[in-house]
Symmetry: C2
């Protein structure tokens, strides 16, 4: 790899790139092709940026900031019109073709073997024949999502929804319209485009959308500048905030503390901005309280009955090799998981995975045995 | 100060004491008498331990650990009988006589001028004439508590409740019985002793006590070994957990994240251990949810109406000098506060204090102006 050429493409000095190597910039030599990845944002290069040994660079997808108070955030961030897309609840993937092979990169810039197999299956080959430089940014969602399994989308397994397009060796994205045209052209799924509104009347429309999405258990919206010159912002439904809390409190000792508090704070801002009645507020408080209390009770009760506190997920693969590689991928991501024997199914395999949540498991065990905190 | 003598009394090597100086052991030269204080627990010396230049040492009061699952904690921590005292909700003070002067030490080992004046007023002089070595460990509670003002105790101002006794230059405490006998002898208030039970039937009794205390807005209990050979443990009511959350979410950006999560987790364990009905659980969830949502909404709404987010408290002093000194004491404790003009009242002064919660104030202001998070 020619470091000078890489530094030029990244737009940083070669000495700076050298300094970052092994601290922020990490080598990943598996699976092929080998790459350097930015573990954090540094020198203006987004976290998750991957530099392949072929010289190709896939830039990290920028973090989307969140509105807590929607009306002033819209007014402050957008000028004329705002496009509203559904924010889907899964995990972020960037798919590109490197040296003729499709690879799916995680947010952190690792190649994920499972997502790569799914992307190869779902994306027509001609995409990268026509557009060898395309980077497809999308959300992997569905019940066979091993991180955030969700039954709320029209798939039995795992599906890919395009939410943005980019190009190798280029920062920035191509914007809402090109993204949806691209999806149409190649017959692939894209996140629903729910409307485009004048900024001054967008608030009412979006609140309406959020309430409807919430009722269906959906996460929320991403608001984008149709001209693609301003950065997008996101906003979520109460139901999604509460569902997040529900999962997190089930594994209360394995989550970062700010995960809990941030979601509670979102509920407070939404309730205040929506100027809710006493009754609506009581309903929201009950929903919030239950999303905290019930999973905690369930975890304690399960432990009292001698159950292990674990998280069960599943994946579906065409090749057994993919499952073996995904097992290694989870391990290197710091996730402890036990893979069951693959069960042949259609033309592939179903693999049930037990993710260990050791900290919650051990803490709960100690506490029900009378340990103090 | 003879460091060798101090080290001997602390039971650590003089070189170790030297090493700790200026890192863990800090000098405090105001107000008189001057002292060294242990900022953290180190070499087996409790945090808050104060070494006066007279040579007297007041050891820190040991942290009391908390039961999350009461029945097994009782079984595991006590052997024969358990004494149950009310845990009062205020702030911890240790009162001693140093060189003939009464001083009230905070948990951290600072002399608090306000608490010192209150202690001088409430504690009969003959205590330290009879027992010059006594260290009175107690809780300062009431509506004129400038940290945790509470209207639930029978005082209009600030009252001192003894919860343990110790002696200068001695580790350890004298136990439940000596403490209450001492309070009786000198006619001072002590935390209520609610009963002494056989360990194997204590659980039902304590749950009953906790429910009754909760209904009155009281915090909970401290369980002690009547023989004073085992360390005490504490357990709190749901109402107290929720009241804590209520205050904390009002100032959501000025509290440590674990404050929120720990209280939610306590609710989960209590509900599971009490084997609550669906209806009881719904009530608890609503109480929990409201204690999070409503203070957040109130903070946002107040900010939207242009109010500053501050915390108003008040103190009552006999001497104006005490108020001036307390102002300095708050400042050195890292609390930003504005003191109003003293209002003469009875034979003293009422002083209203506005405590600034800058982080919550600024964050909320930014968010209602459309800042993203």
């Amino acid at each position: 790899m020619n470091l000078q050429r890489v530094a030029d493409k990244l737009g940083i000095k070669v000495e700076k790139l050298g300094d970052l190597t092994e601290t922020v910039v990490k080598r990943s030599s598996w699976p092929q092709p080998r790459l350097l990845r930015f573990d954090k944002t540094a020198s203006g290069v987004e976290a998750g940026t991957a530099v392949f040994e072929t010289g190709d660079i896939v830039f990290g997808y920028p973090k989307i900031r969140r509105a807590l108070m929607l009306r002033p955030a819209l007014k402050r961030h957008f000028t004329d019109r705002v496009a509203v897309e559904e924010k889907m609840n899964g995990y972020n993937i960037r798919v590109a073709s490197i040296d003729g092979e499709v690879v799916a990169l995680t947010r952190g810039g690792f190649i994920c073997p499972y997502s790569t197999e799914v992307a190869e299956r779902l994306l027509p080959e001609r995409i990268f024949e026509d557009r060898p430089d395309a980077v497809l940014c999308g959300e992997m969602v569905g019940p066979e999502n091993p991180y955030v399994p969700k039954d709320i989308y029209p798939t039995d397994s795992l599906d890919f929804y395009l939410f943005d397009l980019s190009r190798k060796n280029c920062r920035g994205t191509l914007g809402v319209h090109e993204t949806h045209e691209f999806a149409d052209e190649y017959g692939i799924k894209a996140v629903p485009l729910l409307g485009e509104f004048q900024v001054d009347r967008a608030y009412e429309e979006i609140v309406d959308i959020i309430k409807k999405l919430g009722k269906r258990g959906r996460e929320g919206v991403v608001m984008k500048d149709p001209e693609n010159t301003l950065s997008p912002i996101k906003y979520t439904s109460s139901e999604s905030n509460c569902t997040d809390l529900e999962s997190a409190f089930q594994y209360y000792n394995d989550y970062a503390l700010d995960f809990f508090v941030s979601r509670a704070v979102r509920e407070g801002f939404q309730s205040a901005e929506w100027n809710e009645s006493e009754d609506e507020r009581r309903k929201r408080a009950l929903r919030l309280g239950e999303s905290i209390l019930l999973p905690l009770v369930s975890t304690v009760e399960r432990k009292m009955e001698g159950e292990q506190i674990v998280q069960k997920v599943q994946i579906r693969v065409k090749k057994l090799q993919t499952a073996r590689e995904f097992e290694y991928h989870l391990r290197r991501s710091g996730i402890r998981a036990i893979f069951d024997q693959p069960e042949p199914d259609d033309d592939g395999y179903l693999i049930r995975i037990t993710k260990l949540v050791m900290s919650t498991n051990d803490k709960t065990q100690a506490l029900i045995e009378g340990d103090t905190w």
